[in-house]
């Protein structure tokens, strides 16, 4: 290529608007979006080749008093982009943050029809992020929650981006002075009716939920289209005109959302039917008081007996695993699981061959124990209940097979197989048995919690 052509190009191009140290560190690659406040660029670290997002504010007078970089610096959450650095030139500010790999939720949802459980999983993650933001002192309000600002990756994990119009809640302020946000997703108070607070984000979350369920942002038009009545109620309450009529916090929205999950509703139907039949029988016997006894709140939320795993933790784990492995085999059932169920998970969910999952050692000792033909080195019958140690071994062998590979074929002096001891040590060290207080007779829900803990830990190690 002749130099004249390049010189002619260079004479017509000017990138002096960018700070020099910014250009020295990063090569701008593409413009991801732009609006009246500035541009978001995809930039490439010149040294490492890693990609980041750089938000360029060309008019700082429009930026919240507490800027995006100030907010991001203090935030450390999986669902939020990490702050990398900031650069200034003249009146312009460049905030570099982690680049969230994936697709904006609006595009993702258009290309991949979402099931109700997938929608719930997305909104539950959003609730977790909002609980984190709102839990700050003073609370951080995002103020622009919409599908375009939610990036979803191939594993269904979301990241909330764009803190350009976020603000810190100011108790003294009466109303927001400048309107920002996206009309369809913004609450009435963002138009100046009153000051925005955490419930403004709850409103937007409700509109996103409504849009994911129906493709419609107008809750009145969408009302008849949401078949799940509980979800319809959640949308209605999140998007109430007056902030006082909305859910007070994202944690509560998460709780009610989990109860609206199709699996939970199915379970509740069975429980209700069984309870109804029992009540009828008692009534016939004249034992009316038994009805009251039967339907009382046995345990309040804050009083979970030591041996019961938290219902929220179970639901969260079940949703996480069913979404991730695209299955409905994980269950929040309170009945005791057995080894037959664990083996089913091995070959139906985790891809082991049926022969490997079911192989039993020979009847007579010495057992061959761990080898390429079996998952469990012991003769564990199908109907045997699941003990914590075996579940720890299972989880470690699925996610970190190298940890138990060399240990499982030997029996130590205590009668334990070292593989189990090694697995238990590993699980304790990595919090994989977190929330499991029951030593044996683990329920379906307990199994899900252990495997979800292990799966998340494995993801975190990557």
């Amino acid at each position: 290529m002749d130099n004249a052509f390049i010189e002619s190009f260079l004479s017509s191009f000017d990138d002096s608007c960018f700070p020099e140290d910014f250009l020295k560190a990063y090569e701008p690659m593409e413009c991801l979006s732009y609006n009246q406040m500035g541009e978001t660029l995809l930039v490439r670290d010149r040294k490492t080749g890693q990609y980041f997002a750089a938000k360029c504010y060309t008019d700082q007078s429009l930026v919240s008093r507490t800027t995006e970089s100030e907010l991001l610096k203090d935030l450390h959450h999986d669902g939020l982009p990490a702050f990398i650095g900031e650069y200034q030139k003249g009146g312009s500010l460049y905030v570099v943050r982690e680049y969230a790999e994936g697709l904006p939720l609006d595009q993702f949802a258009r290309e991949n029809p979402l099931s109700v459980s997938q929608v719930i999983s997305i909104i539950v993650q959003l609730c977790d992020i909002l609980s984190y933001l709102h839990g700050h002192t003073p609370p951080i309000i995002h103020r622009d929650i919409k599908p375009q600002n939610i990036i979803i990756d191939n594993n269904g994990k979301i990241k909330l981006i764009d803190f350009g119009i976020s603000r810190v809640f100011d108790k003294e302020a009466k109303a927001d002075t400048v309107f920002f946000g996206t009309q369809e997703f913004s609450p009435p108070e963002q138009y100046g009716f009153s000051q925005t607070d955490c419930r403004s984000d709850i409103f937007s979350l409700g509109v996103v939920l409504c849009w994911l369920l129906t493709g419609e942002t107008n809750k009145d038009i969408a009302a008849g289209r949401i078949q799940n009545r509980q979800l319809a109620r959640i949308v209605r309450r999140c998007t109430a005109f007056a902030p006082k009529d909305r859910y007070a916090d994202a944690g509560t929205v998460k709780k009610v959302l989990m109860r609206a999950h199709p699996q939970v509703q199915k379970r509740n139907c069975i429980i209700s039917a069984a309870t109804g039949a029992a009540v009828l029988a008692f009534c016939i016997a004249g034992g009316i008081w038994l009805h009251n006894y039967n339907s009382r709140e046995i345990f309040t939320e804050d009083h979970i007996p030591a041996f019961i795993t938290s219902e929220d933790l179970i639901l969260e784990s079940v949703l996480y695993l069913n979404e991730k492995y695209d299955t409905d085999l994980f269950s929040d059932g309170r009945d005791a699981a057995n080894m037959g169920y664990v083996r089913q998970l091995l070959f139906k969910v985790f891809g082991y061959s049926e022969e490997y999952a079911y192989a039993m050692p020979p009847d007579d000792p010495p057992y061959p124990h761990e080898n390429e033909n079996n998952f469990f080195p012991w003769g564990l019958p199908e109907d045997e209940s699941v003990v914590k140690e075996i579940m720890a071994y299972t989880a470690v062998k699925i996610f970190w097979p190298e940890v138990v590979a060399d240990w499982s074929s030997l029996k130590d002096d205590n009668g334990y197989y070292p593989g189990v001891r090694v697995a238990m040590d590993f699980c304790r060290k990595h919090n994989i048995l977190k929330g499991i207080n029951r030593p044996d007779h683990l329920t379906f829900g307990d199994v899900a919690v252990i495997l979800a803990n292990a799966d998340k830990e494995k993801e975190a190690m990557k």
Binding site: M1, F5, I6, F9, L10, S12, F13, D15, C17, E27, P28, M29, E30, C31, L32, E39, L41, L42, R44, G49, Q50, Y51, Y99, E101, Q107
Partner: protein, 152 residues
């Protein structure tokens, strides 16, 4: 810009209809087909037809690996932004046509404030080939087209 197919309505016709329409809803209802973004592989196949080209040649001119290129044309693969830019060179598109191609692929448009994009725009405007464009990018120390995948 080459029409997507014979039945397509031009932008000016759509604008005329919009100004004459009694209300926006009725306009949107009546013209929804024309306003939808076509599927990328359908669009480039149609582009080949209207420009009298064959995919084989476009893929070659775009310096895209042959199998990969055909997968883009039959819709089994989705292109990255750089692959779309390569195709724009393969087709010999103008700046406006290249921007339309990026839009159909739902990728960020070329942005003149970004030096790398500005080089690409300048080269498209001057009917340079993909190889000539890569040479300019290399001389200026910029990332080559198709050179890097995002975060590994």
């Amino acid at each position: 810009m080459a029409q997507q197919n014979g039945k397509n309505t031009g932008t000016s016709t759509l604008l005329r209809r919009l100004f004459k329409a009694p209300d926006l809803e009725r306009f949107l209802e009546g013209n929804s087909t024309e306003m939808e973004i076509p599927l990328f592989h359908n669009y480039i196949t149609e582009l080949c037809r209207t420009m009298g080209q064959v995919p084989e040649r476009v893929i070659k001119m775009a310096s895209i690996e042959r199998t990969y290129g055909h997968q883009l044309f039959n819709g089994t693969r989705k292109p990255s932004r750089d692959k779309v830019i390569q195709l724009a060179f393969g087709f010999g598109l103008s700046v406006d046509e290249a921007q339309k191609l990026l839009k159909v692929a739902q990728k960020s448009l070329l942005y003149p404030k970004i030096k790398r994009d500005a080089v690409i725009l300048y080269c498209l405007n001057n009917q340079k080939s993909i190889i000539e464009t890569q040479s300019v990018l290399e001389t200026l120390g910029l990332t080559l087209i198709g050179g890097e995948e995002k975060n590994g």
